[in-house]
Amino acid sequence: MPVRAASVRRMVAPTVAVLGLLFGGGLLLAVLQTIGVSPFVGRFDVSLAAYRQVAGLPGLWASIVLTVWVATASTVLSLGIGVSAAVALRRLAADTVLGRATLFLFQANLTVPHVVAAVGAVWLLSQSGLLARAAFGLGLISGPQDFPALVYDRAAIGTILAYVWKEVPFVGVVTLSLLASVGDRPGQTARSLGATRWQAFRHVTLPQIRPGLIACGTIIFAFALGTYEVPALTGASQPKLLPVLAYEMFTSHTLADRPAAVALSLTTAAAGLGMILAWRSLLTGARR
């Protein structure tokens, strides 16, 4: 049954059209807006003022550093914990209550929107949150001020933890499926050739699931770089994460801030993409 090129074109055309118009078009309009071109109003005063405005934002560098820190830490921690959890889960017998509970929670957690994770993080981790109350009950602290500042803090620990809470199950489920496709036998073969459990994982299993994990980490990194609601609910007043900064500028009452807000979003996205590409080539380059 040969498939004609025309029928394949018909199959992909709607997706290409919709993504091309909405995503590609949106991106193009965004870029135009940042350089002073508004085709719908007929304004063509090309300038880089928006980018200059972004470059001059007070506290911009602190925001950039914090955003990169949050995205990197969230990605690394999610991958580390998620992969370990998946490996532990695979080693556990199939029918234990604990194994089934973890698997269920992994999947259930995937359905929880990020905004709930952010709210849960605040209620759990703030200095008067549930953990602080437990610590007080145990006599570990004498008041909220003794509890470490885990949310609304300058290192954005609460933001990172909210992301990690959301992404660990994602990594876990992906890793389980990757491990299942590799199977147990390569690891066992390595063990019988004298590799320890860790060596077998490090040198045999991990290299085989690595491409999947890189994809997984890429998604988390890009997501943590561009999401508004989690840092908006868990972040400190200063410094703000870039998506929060961009959103606030976009909706401020001076319309003149808009091109700069868009420029900030685009620069973040471009820088993120650059980091992802660099990171990927570094990881794939380090493979041998």
């Binding site: 909405l22 698997l103 979003s265």
Partner: protein, 282 residues
Amino acid sequence: MTAIWSIATPVGDKPATVPSAAPTKRRAGLPLLLLVAWLVVPLVPVVLWSVARGWFFPALLPAEISLAAWARAFANGSDVWRALGTSVGVSAAAAALGMLIGVPAGRALGMHAFPGKRWVEMLVLAPILVPGLGVAMGLHAVMIRLGLTGTAGGVVLVFLVPVLPYVVLISASVFATHDRAFEAQARGLGASSWQTLRHVTLPMVAPGLSVAAAFAFLVAWSQYGLTLLVGGGRVITMPLLLGQSIAAGRNDLAGVAAVLTILPGLAVLVLTSTLLGRGGRR
């Protein structure tokens, strides 16, 4: 329950069930117990707040349990009813539209080689790698002009940007493992191309596609920034209602909104895995 989302990653064809890996090591128990606790604990205050009244530091449990917030949520014409309706409607519409548009592309990517395939793949992957806020900001002016801002229709339209990649990628992986020999067999036995689709192809790919649909629904259900930007405050979904309750400083109402934001997703999960379970355990 099998890991129904495992299909989301186009790797291998085996489901991510927990195998009886040998030898069984109980040492994995403690870390996993901690993991389970870590997964559950943040949801504890969420549920407690929904029935709490006057819950101040250092009380570990609410001094008073009150169903006032719940009563308010389920009162006639409450914000919660409206937001639930909006969320369900907008997410279902985005998922349905996404499936209609994305599944054929998934089939093409999963089963055929064609010129420009790499470009199509890149276009599909791009929205996952590029945060949507900038794109939505770019679209904003056009959408205002078309009268789409502040409308559910406009929100559904921009939701296609995050939804389509998942639909296309998941259905591509479904079709990639689908053996076309079965279709050839059916055609050889006298089935028309429509009959083949109806009686052979669809039943075989249905479980995978239902996962794609569930994923699409959940991706749309979780959106926040895009809804805020394009909905302009007039399209209030459950996540936004939760954000508003937090901004109003009403933790009890926020607790109710949070619980109601989680439940439909769980329902979709259970529904999907039950459906998949019925069609033979994967």
